[in-house]
Subunit: 363 residues, 4 copies
C-alpha cells in the first residue's frame, strides 16, 4: 500500500534504487502455462536502455535480466515471477555535489520531507531507472496479450512544439522503429532529431508527447465506476516519471465539441457491432467497446540541465547547482516502451478481471 | 476489486443505480472524533443536484441523505460511515424506448457486452447519478482536510471553445458560486451561460473544462512509484463520467517547454522552502512540495441529445434513436463539486497514508 | 483497509452498530446473471435471528432486509449489491448504566483505547448484531455455490463439555434443523438443550463448538502461499464474535499423529482421484483436492452474565457491574448460519479467484 | 491477489521455488529511518536453517541473504526493501522419481489441478523452503517492534503426545534456545528429543504444537470487524506449511467454560488498567488490551516418510512411492522462528494501521 504495487489480478511489485545493486520486479497472478520468451523481454529492455542513440543519454547500461522464480521449463507456473536487472553503472562518487542540495524540479526535497532519510545517489528511488523493471513486467504482460491478439504500440507524436504531421489513424506501426526518435512519420522525425541535437548541444532539455494505440481489444474490459479502463490507463501513464497529462479518444479537444459532433453512432460491419466514428477512443462508460483505444501522454522536459540554477540546501541555505554527467536531452524516445509496458500491464489485468463478470463464465 | 471502491486508508465504496431505490456509500477508515457537519454535507449535495438552474437538467431531485452508521453524538466513531440518498425521481416508464437500443456514446453496449444483464433504466449503474454518493463521501473528506487547513476549490474554466480570460492564479474562489456556470470570471461566465442556453435550445450539448486548486497541502503527500499524488488525482478525475483528459501543473503545454524554462528553482521565503515558479503544480516526484496543486479536467459533451441518431438494437438491427426527457446541455457546472469531492477523497487518503512514512512518526 | 471488507473478488463490506438505525452490507464482485432468491436470504436471516427459541435471547428482531442495488428483474447485474436490515429493537435507554463502565471480556475498553469515542449502546460496532449483515452476504454467496453444486452445512458439536456422540462423517445434514440447538444427533441435542436451560436459569452462559462441512468442492480452490484455503477459512471464522480457535481436518489431534498414520494415500474411484483417508480435510498445500472439507470453530461463553462482576470506569475508578436485558446463554445455536455464511463467502471468493489460474482458462 | 502478499501497510511479497535459483521477499511500507541490523536478520535465518541439529533434516543450506534495495547507509529509506536468499542445495536430479507421482499429503496433486504446469522439484513453490523469506521479513518486522518494546517469542510445547509440563506463564524465554527442540522446560525437552530421534530412526515423522507469546503490546491494535488482531494472527499461522489449527487465549478449552469462569474482570495496577485473569489472551473484540497475547499452533507430521505408500501418477495409474533424501522427522523445532516471524509481521502491520484511528493522532 506504499505505492510500489500496481494491478489487481495481474499484480506487479517493483523495487530498487538508481544506484543500488539491482532493480527488480515480482509479478503475482500471471496465469500458468504462458511461454516466457526471454529474447522478447530482452528486446523490450533494449528499446528502453540508455546509450542506444545519439539523442539519448550516453550512459551505458546493458540491462541484462535474470528470472528468479515462477518459470519452469520455459513456461509460467502460476507462482510469482521475480526478475532482476543488475545496475552495472553505479558511479556513486559522482553524487557528492548534490548530496545536500535540492535539485530544481527533482524529487530530492519532497523525498526528504516525506522520509527524512534518502538515497541521494542519482535520484535513488525517484530516478527513472526504476522504469526498467516496469518494462520487464510489461513484456510479460504483452506475452499474455499476444495470446489474445491484442496489439499495443506507442510512438513519439510531438517534441517541444514540433508535432507529427500524420493523424493517429494514418500511421503504420512498422515505421516506429525506423528512426531513433520513434516517430512513425519520417519527415517529422528528422526535424525532431535535429531539434533534440540542438537542445542537447545547448545543455538544455525539452518535453514531448507520446501517443499510444491498442488494437483488437475485446469488448467488456474495464470495471465501473472507479476502475474505468481509461482511469487505470491514466493512472498508469501518470505514474511514469515526468508525465504531466493524459487524454484518451477525443481528449481535451473533444471538450470543445457538441454532442451531435462527438457522439459515435453504432453500426454493423458484417456481424460485428462497430461505431462509425471513434471519438470515444474505444471506451464507453469505462469499458472497452472493441474499437481502437488511443491516448496521448505529455512529458515535461528532463529536469537535469547543464545550466546553473538557484537552489536550497537541506539545511536551508541558498546555493547554486548545475547538472553533471550524462542525461537525456529529451525523454520521449526512450519512454515509448515504458508507455507500452504500462498499457500492457493494465490491459492484462483487466483481461483477467473480466473473467468473472458473468455467472455463465465461471461455470 | 470490481471497481466500486476507491482509496487505501480512507476507503469509499459506492453503490446504486440511477433508477433503483437508493444510491449510497460506505466510508471505511474515517478517523474517530471528527465532527460530522450534516448541513455542510447537504450543501455540497445541493451544489451537484439536478434542477438547480436554467442551464442544468430540469429533473428535480432533492438528494436528501441519511447517515446509517459510524457517527455517534455528532462525531465519527472510526467504524464505517454508511450514507444513503433516496432516488425520488424514478420514472421508469420513460425508458421502454431504449430498453433494446444502444444509445450512441453511452455505456449500454459495453455493459451488455460485459455483463449480459443490465438495468437499462436511465443508464442504470453507468448514469452520473452515482456521483451524488461521491459528493457525500467527498464532503466528509473535506471535513478532515479542514482540520488540517487544506482548501480545495474547482471551477469551470472553459465551455466549448469559450475559455475563461483569467489565469488560474488570478481567480478569487469566492467568485465561483456567484454565477450559475461556476466560472469565477464574470465576463466569461456570462458568455458561457448564453452559449449553453443556445446549445440547449438547439437540442444539442457541449463539453467543457473544470480547473481545480488545492491550497495549504503539507509537503510529503503521495507515494512512490505507482501511487504518485498526481497519478491518483488523475485516476480519480478520469473515473468521473464524461471525463476525457487530465493534466496538472504545466500539463500538455509544459511538454512544449525547455528544461531551463520549466524548472522551478527553490528559494526560501521566511522559514519556508518554496519554489520561485510552480510549473510542477505543487508535486515533484509524485509527492507534494507544499506549493499550490492545480489541474485541469476535460469533459466531453453529454451524450444524450434531442436529435435523431443511428444505432443498433441488442439483437443487432439498425435503428434510429433520439433523446427524451430532461438532460444537462453541459455537464461542467454541476460537475464542479464532483471534481472537488474526488480531489478531497484523494487528499484525505494520502494524508492518512503519510502517517507511517517515518519511524519517528509511529512512536 | 480498516477491517470492514472481506474477500478479494467476491468482496463484502459491512457496516452498522447494534443500536444505529440499520446494519447493512455491500457485495462488490457478484457475477451478473445470478438469480437472487429473496425467500432464501430471509430464511437464512431467520436462522440467525434473536428470539427463535427458548434457549436463545428473547429479544425480538424480525431482521427483514431490503436490497437497494445491483439486482434487476430478479437477477444480479454485476454491479454492487447493497442490502439493509432495520434495527427495530433499539432501546437505547437501557444502556446508561454501562456508558462509563468497561464490561468484563467485552470490547468497551479496547474500543475506547483505540478510538477515544464510541457508541456504547449495546456494544455498538462490537456487538454480534453485525453478523446479520454477514448472513445476508453469505446467503448470496451460497446462491453462487449452489450453481456449482457446492454444499455447506454447519452444526453444534459441543456445548460446554457435552460433546456430540456422532463423528463428523456419521451425521445427516437433514437432522441439523430438527432441534433448537442445531445438533444433528438427537440424544446429544437433548442433553445440550437441558444444559443450556440450566445455565440460563443460573444467570450464567457457556461456550461451545461448531463443526462445518463443505461438500463437492472442485480441486484447485485456494492460493499459495499466504491465501491458503484453510488460512482464509480460519481468518473468516476467527473474525466471528466470540471465536477462540479454529482447526481443520485432523486439527490439533492430528499434531499427535505420525506421518505414517496421518498421510492420505491417493487412489482412484472410477475416474476420480480421491484419498483413502481424509486427515487433510480436503485441502493440501492450501488448495482443495476435491474431498470433503471439514473444520471446527470454538466459541467462548457469552460475556454478558447476570452475576455481579468487578470492573473499572472510563475514568479509572473501581466499580461493580451486572448484566441486564436479554442475552443468549449460549451463542452456538444461533452462530451456525454465521459459520456457514463466512464459509460460503470464502468459497465463492476462491471459486472466482481460480478462474484465471491457467492460461487455457482465460482464452 | 494471488496469495503471495501479506499485510496492509507493512506489506510482504514473497517469491521463489525450492529448487529455483533464489527465494526472496519485498517489503513495501517499512517506515524510513529504521536501523537494519544485518547480523540480527542472519541470526534469525540461522534459527530456521536446515542441518542445525541431529533432529532436523541434514540438508545443508547456509541461507545467506542479500539486501537489494530500500536500505541506505544502514537505515531504511521508506522505499521497498528487497532481499534474496540463494538456494545453494539445488540437487534437481534427485526428483525424477516423483516427477509424475502425487506424493501423499503433499501439494503435488492440488497444484497440478490448479495450474496444469508445476515445478515438481522438491515441491517447488509448495515447499517450506519459502518460509526462509518469511523469516527475513519477520526479522525486519521485529526490528520495528523492538523500537516499541514489543517482545515476541515462540517455543515447542508439544511433540506428538508429549506435552510440556510448564504452563505458558511459567516459562522463561531465555530457556527456549537452550536445547535443540526449543522447549523451555528441560525435562520435557529431553523426552521430546529422544522421541524425535526414535521417530527418525523408524523412517517416520511426527507432529507437534508451537506456543507463542507477545508481551508489551499497547492497547488498540487490531481492526473491527474482519481484521481482528487474532483473526489475522490466525490466518498468518494457518498459512505456514503443515499447520492444522490455531487457538488463542483460552482457546478450545475456553469453549468448555462458563461466562462466570471465563470473564476477565478489570482492575487497576498502579495507573494501568489490567485484567485479573487473561482468558482473553490479550485481545478483546479483536483489539489488543495491553495484556499478554498468547496462542497455540498445531502442526501435522511431515508428509515425507521413508516408508512405502500407495499413490497415483498424473496419468491416473496406481503406483508406489517412498521418500528419499533428507527430511525433518518433526517440523516444530525449526518452525519456531517462522511462527515468531509471522506474528511479528502481523503486529508491525497493525501498529502502523493504528496510527490513523483517531483524528487527534493524524494532526
Amino acid at each position: 500500500m506504499s505505492g510500489n504495487t500496481f494491478g489487481t489480478l495481474f499484480r506487479v511489485t517493483v523495487f530498487g534504487e538508481s544506484h543500488g545493486s539491482h532493480i527488480g520486479m515480482v509479478i503475482d497472478g500471471c496465469p500458468a502455462g504462458l511461454t516466457i520468451d526471454l529474447d522478447f523481454i530482452q528486446s523490450e529492455l533494449d528499446r528502453r536502455k540508455p546509450g542506444q542513440s545519439k539523442i539519448t543519454t550516453q550512459r551505458k547500461e546493458d540491462d541484462h535480466f535474470q528470472i528468479l522464480s515462477g518459470v519452469f521449463e520455459g513456461k509460467s507456473t502460476g507462482t510469482p515471477i521475480a526478475g532482476l536487472i543488475l545496475n552495472n553503472d553505479q558511479r556513486s562518487n559522482d553524487y557528492s555535489h548534490i548530496q545536500d542540495k535540492y535539485r530544481p524540479s527533482h524529487a530530492d526535497y519532497t523525498y526528504d520531507s516525506k522520509y527524512g532519510h534518502r538515497d541521494y545517489r542519482g535520484g535513488g528511488r525517484s530516478s527513472a531507472r526504476e522504469t526498467a523493471a516496469r518494462v520487464m513486467a510489461g513484456a510479460i504482460a504483452k506475452l499474455i496479450l499476444k495470446e489474445h491478439g491484442i496489439d499495443i504500440f506507442a510512438y513519439v507524436s510531438k517534441v517541444g512544439t514540433l508535432e507529427m504531421s500524420k493523424k493517429h489513424h494514418e500511421i503504420d506501426p512498422k515505421d516506429i522503429e525506423k528512426n531513433i526518435v520513434r516517430c512513425p512519420d519520417e519527415a517529422s522525425a528528422l526535424k525532431m532529431i535535429k531539434y533534440i541535437e540542438e537542445i542537447k548541444a545547448s545543455g538544455d532539455t525539452v518535453g514531448g508527447v507520446i501517443s499510444c494505440q491498442i488494437k483488437n481489444t475485446p469488448a467488456g474490459l474495464g470495471e465501473p465506476v472507479f476502475d474505468k479502463l481509461h482511469a487505470d490507463l491514466g493512472k498508469a501513464m501518470l505514474s511514469i516519471n515526468a508525465v504531466k497529462g493524459f487524454e484518451y479518444g477525443s481528449g481535451f479537444k473533444g471538450s470543445e465539441l457538441k454532442g451531435s459532433e462527438h457522439n459515435d453512432e453504432f453500426t454493423k460491419v458484417g456481424e460485428k457491432i462497430q461505431t462509425k466514428t471513434n471519438h470515444s477512443g474505444g471506451i464507453q462508460g469505462g469499458i472497452s467497446n472493441g474499437m481502437d483505444i488511443y491516448f496521448n501522454v505529455a512529458f515535461k522536459p528532463v529536469a537535469t540541465i547543464m545550466k546553473e540554477q538557484s537552489s536550497i540546501t537541506s539545511s536551508g541555505e541558498e546555493t547554486k547547482i548545475s547538472g553533471k554527467g550524462r542525461h537525456d536531452p529529451c525523454v520521449v524516445p526512450r519512454a515509448v516502451p515504458i508507455v507500452e509496458s504500462m498499457a500492457a500491464i493494465v490491459l492484462a489485468d483487466f483481461l483477467l478481471r473480466n473473467k468473472t463478470s458473468k455467472l455463465g463464465d465461471i461455470k
